[in-house]
């Protein structure tokens, strides 16, 4: 039986990046999930974009996983295949790098994660925040699991 196109991509990825062995999952047709360490992120990300044709960034998802923040880069190919590349950054030092120079459209997704999850992206160009208000209190990141809306609302519930 010949390999499907997903198996072929998975095989080529593991051959090119031996450290990815066992880290590539085929969930269904056209859906691949890849996890990499922060050190290898650049190589895998650039490889997927430049050598494997995943040249469109659908979005970036930020996840609160306790000790870590997970970042999922959903990269799509013209044939409809999506590779979700995951990297984890430590919660105690939530710093990561911007991919804005490669995907200018990704800047807004990074700003969103910076605002809602508190991951700082180095290399992000100056610009307005997104999507929270200018007077949003510092250090309040709503998408963190330990965040409660009472952190910013008055104790009596506020509102009319």
């Amino acid at each position: 039986m010949s390999a499907t196109k997903e198996e072929e991509i998975s095989g080529r990825l593991s051959a090119q990046f031996p450290f990815l062995a066992g880290q590539v999952k085929i969930q269904r047709a056209r859906r691949l999930w890849v996890e990499t360490s922060p050190e290898n992120f650049d190589a895998v990300f650039n490889g997927l974009v430049e050598k494997f044709g995943f040249n469109s960034l659908c979005t970036i998802t930020g996840l609160d996983e306790g000790e870590y923040f997970g970042l999922l880069y959903h990269l799509a190919k013209e044939d409809g295949t999506v590779a979700s590349l995951k990297v984890r950054v430590a919660r105690h030092n939530p710093k990561w790098k911007s991919i804005g120079n490669k995907f200018p459209g990704g800047i807004i997704y990074e700003r969103e994660i910076a605002d809602l999850l508190g991951v700082q992206f180095e290399g992000l160009p100056p610009g307005p925040r997104y999507p929270l208000t200018d007077n949003w209190p510092a250090g309040q990141y709503p998408l963190r699991k330990d965040w409660q809306n009472t952190n910013v609302l008055p104790k009596n519930g506020g509102g009319a």
């Binding site: 807004i108 610009g127 809306n149």
Partner: protein, 410 residues
């Protein structure tokens, strides 16, 4: 020439939705455009984590008032993938049917708004009248004109009757006739073509680099459509063409949308003809096993994506939504560059060129003069006349001739 920065929005008489655009003008031309978004952020992703999957369907359906079915479908598709549910073929067809009817309503609405923004209000009246046909059909099938509530985890909630199928068929025929007329207007009406051509140019290269999607990308010759490339629901069974255009401007975006309407009428006919009999839903568990899924949907405005992570409970661990407009906004800034301020409304079809408002927001300064004082209106007028006279443009003779003419007439 001095550059002037003007803010438009977030609250502006011509803006239908809150957004703020910072336009740097060099004379009449836009030198640079920046934007500030988020005024409508409602915390829906966080709210999803605190509600059950069933409640979340109705919540995500309210992300957008126009492509509500797009969000609900993208969400349930992700949940069904995690739960390993295979929805019945008839449910797939009904989802596709509602999705395509929604596209008709959205594209006709857009065509009207586009007409309105260029001062062609007859087009607005015509398209919105015709749009009522599809709104009535959606209300007949689902009970609602918007926010249809047709989806559930495992299928759809309402079946389509033979009588409804007959009505949809008749409605589609009527709308197709009307759309043929709009295509004639778009391709033959010289004023409209002149008004839309070369406005808001976005090259294919920039469209790809900035991640433009949907009709915006397709009008810049980017040949992508999730319905064809990553088929979901019943799209794999349908025969359709992805409409692209290489005008790369607002005119191209108009042609793509009217072209897509014609494809959609055909797709609806295929759906009605091929719709298999059978159940419309499978039983879904209340608790969804741990897992994650990434779902894509071709909404009328472009690819809508949802990411869902389940943790084994009845509430999701994380729901991430990226609506098509967010992906297209980076391109809007590029489209505005080197265009006239007067073209801003049609480029971002939601801003009107309210010159009286912008003029009042401007402070004209005598730059380089001591004190940088503001000019009075008469002073500014005199300055303008003198500025032109020095460059050989003198209307004083013409003014005198005009005054004489008026005298003779009286």
């Amino acid at each position: 020439m001095n550059k002037i920065k003007i803010p438009i929005g977030p609250q502006h008489p011509a803006l239908k939705e809150p957004a703020n655009f910072q336009l740097v003008l060099e004379g009449e031309k836009i030198y640079e455009a920046g934007m500030r978004l988020g005024y409508n952020h409602r915390g829906i992703e966080k709210a999803c984590e605190q509600r059950s999957y069933i409640q979340d369907i109705y919540l995500v359906e309210r992300v957008c008032g126009i492509c509500s079915h797009s969000h609900a479908t993208a969400f349930v598709q992700a949940v069904e993938e995690i739960a390993g549910l295979q929805i019945p073929p008839r449910a797939s067809y009904i989802r596709t049917l509602i999705g395509e009817l929604e596209r008709i309503h959205s594209h006709l609405l857009w065509l009207g708004v586009a007409g309105h923004e260029v001062g062609f209000d007859t087009l607005l009246m015509y398209t919105w009248r015709d749009r009522e046909i599809v709104m009535d059909l959606l209300a007949e099938i689902t009970g609602n004109r918007v926010n249809y509530g047709i989806n559930t985890v495992g299928g759809v909630r309402r079946d389509v009757s033979a009588e409804q199928i007959a009505n949809i068929s008749k409605g589609v025929d009527a709308m197709e006739e009307r759309t043929k007329y709009y295509i004639q207007v778009a391709t033959e009406e010289a004023t409209l073509i002149a008004r839309l051509s070369k406005v808001g140019y976005l090259s294919k290269e920039n469209a790809l680099r900035l991640g433009a999607i949907g009709p915006t990308g397709r009008a810049s010759a980017v040949d992508t459509d999730t319905r064809r490339d990553d088929p979901y629901a019943a799209y794999a069974d349908l025969n359709f063409k992805v409409i692209t255009d290489n005008h790369c401007d607002v005119y191209g975006r108009t042609l793509v949308r009217v072209g897509e309407l014609m494809q959609t009428y055909n797709m609806v006919r295929q759906i009605l003809k091929q719709m298999p009999e059978g159940p419309i839903a499978v039983k879904a568990p209340r608790k969804i096993p741990a897992g994650e899924a990434f779902s894509r949907y071709e909404a009328p405005r472009g690819e809508d994506v949802h990411y869902v992570r389940a943790n084994g409970t009845d509430k999701p661990e994380r729901v991430k939504i990226r609506a098509p407009t967010l992906a297209n906004l980076s391109s809007v800034a590029k489209m505005m560059e080197q265009n006239y301020l007067a073209d801003v409304p049609i480029i971002i079809a939601a801003i009107d060129p309210c010159f009286s408002c912008t003029d009042r927001a401007l402070v004209l300064k005598d730059f380089g003069q001591p004190g940088d004082r503001a000019m009075e209106w008469n002073e500014l007028r005199k300055y303008g006349i003198e500025w032109h006279r020095q460059r050989g443009i003198d209307f004083s003779g013409a003014n005198k001739r005009f005054a004489k003419l008026m005298e003779a007439h009286n």
